[in-house]
């Protein structure tokens, strides 16, 4: 059971990507997929929508799985392993989660389950790079996410021109020199194959 997280700041397109990517990886039922969705608020919004996709969905609300409800996340991972035995678990943390802490929490769940940790895919919204990296606002949070990424997907590339995509890629490269950077449009499908391949072939 491989656990892969689709992280990134609020509104960067995680939910849309997760739905499309899960279908891509499931490959018409050849692989068993479970989704874990985490929202800070008490009212689950995304989990309900994902359930409509027909996937196995676990919704964790009321806090962030990288800190406040890490234990709940760990238990969820263990229960999925025991009860559903998926090949892949795709995790959507809150938009404020710290990817390396999500990995730690997942490993807690793996103490009694046979799991492997997949890549931390972090989305970076190409429509608002300056806003996200403004150090007086969100910069510290967003740059931490970027630094923790194994793969960075420049998202919403359908909504900006090529120069803006390149600019976003250059900015995130300043914070993470090792991560693979790819372009993503969940609407047009650009980058979906690449991300699916990375997840399937990833070895921790």
């Amino acid at each position: 059971m491989k656990i892969t997280q689709i992280a990134g700041f609020l509104g960067c397109g995680k939910t849309t990507l997760l739905l499309k990517l899960s279908r891509e990886i499931a490959n018409e039922g050849q692989r068993k997929i479970a989704l874990v969705v985490n929202e800070i608020g008490e009212i689950p919004v995304d989990g309900k929508i994902m359930e409509e996709s027909g996937m196995q969905v676990k919704d964790i609300g009321g806090g962030c799985i990288c800190c406040e409800v890490a234990a709940t996340f760990a238990k969820t991972i263990y229960r999925l392993y025991k009860d559903f035995k998926p090949d892949h678990v795709l995790v959507e943390p809150t938009g404020v989660a710290v990817p390396h802490q999500v990995k730690l929490a997942a490993r807690m769940g793996g103490r009694d389950a046979k799991i492997s940790i997949g890549p931390a895919i972090v989305l970076f919204d190409a429509t608002r790079p300056a806003e996200l990296l403004d150090m007086d606002m969100l910069g510290q949070l967003v740059t931490t996410q970027i630094k923790d990424a194994d793969v960075i997907a420049i998202s919403k590339i359908d909504a900006v021109d090529e120069a803006a995509v390149s600019e976003s890629a250059e900015k995130v490269r300043e914070y993470n020199t090792k991560a693979e950077i790819c372009n993503l449009s969940s609407f047009s499908g650009t980058g979906l194959d690449q991300l699916a391949d990375v997840i399937l072939s990833w070895e921790a």
């Binding site: 800070i40 009212i43 990288c66 800190c67 406040e68 234990a71 802490q101 510290q140």
Partner: protein, 96 residues
Amino acid sequence: MADPIAKDGSGCYTEHGVSGYGVAAKLSRKELMNEDFVKTMAESMMVAIAQNCMDLGARCIGHIKSHIRTEAGTIKADTIGPTHGSYSKGHLTKAG
């Protein structure tokens, strides 16, 4: 291995001043509403909430999202801030 659970009960985002809120409401209208009407209303509501937050001192909008469930289907609308506009999707199968 570091313990990811904060000892003081605060979240990873607390120090960044990020907070989340949610609300559910039941809306009704005497006149029939078609898909365009519901989408326009949802998008306007998203931008209005975002603008109100900014007017009240928010410095950045993370993600405001809504699901409007009707007997005829669900419309989803969201925004990442008033300057970014709002986007909606989904279909209604009949006037609801």
